[in-house]
Amino acid sequence: MTTTNRILLALSGLGMIALCVMLSLIPRESAQGFVQKIFYVHVPVAWVAFLAFGVTGYNGLRYLMTRDMKFDRVAAASAEIGVVYISLVLITGPLWAKPIWGIYWTWDLRLTTSFILWLLYLAYLILRRSVDDRERRAQLSAVVGLISFLDVPIVYMANRVKASQHPAPVVGGGENSGLAPEFLATLLIGIFAFTVTYALLLRLRNQQARIEDRIEDLYLARG
């Protein structure tokens, strides 16, 4: 393991422990009570999913501009991790919704566009597995990754432009939004912990993709 990976692993571990401590200590939210603490994992995980898809789109664009395979590898690694994170968003959301709304799911704009985001990147991963030629796979993936990223701002804006079953944004949502300092600190620690974990996973998956390409080259050389 490289030094950078060790540092990221240590930071990720410290972040997770800090989050665990903060989740234990912060008081219950007055309206929702105990179950509101899902917020501190649900939101950071969603943030990382958006970041991961942004990295996929950016590296897809860089690939189309340069035709350098290293960008394709980063894009693919980030998309895979993004799918893991967005899946967690789609699982923890209904687990929070059931005790508060009385239902697991409703097809409102925020939830529907999030579900579409999950489907888009799942399709991206399926596409990568179904094309054998490396260059063609990279080109198609870059285009699909870029187009799919268009859904991220739509998800983000969904409950800002239209009234929704999903709660209004509590951070950056206008005059009536905002969090008490201890709640905000917990949220920021969560964002830090999950982002550092993403960075570590991205590096590891990128290194693996390089090895996979090398293995593929060796098999091709053998004929």
């Binding site: 008081p27 009570g33 105990f34 687990l95 005790p99 693996q208």
Partner: protein, 82 residues
């Protein structure tokens, strides 16, 4: 050895991260008692469990794949030398 023990270790860490905040937070803080703490306990527990088990499961899978790929690469490179 490490490959066998790592999933167990990650599972135990995930379990700790799930149980500790839920257990410690139960009686802490004031608030409206109208909500049902015992019922809500399971939703919170399930959410944390899903997050940590999925995340550490993915980390274990990535680490396991790394070792498999390195072994295969080494074998192919040795074959090439021969």
């Amino acid at each position: 050895m490490f490959r066998k023990t790592m999933p167990i270790l990650l599972f135990l860490i995930a379990l700790g991260l799930t149980i500790a905040p839920v257990a410690l937070a139960q009686d802490y803080g004031a608030g409206d008692e109208a909500w049902k703490p015992k019922e809500n306990f399971w939703w919170l527990f399930a959410s944390y469990a899903v997050i940590w088990v999925a995340l550490f499961g993915y980390v274990a899978r990535v680490a396991g794949k790394q070792q498999t790929l390195e072994r295969e690469l080494k074998r192919l490179e040795q074959d090439q030398v021969k």
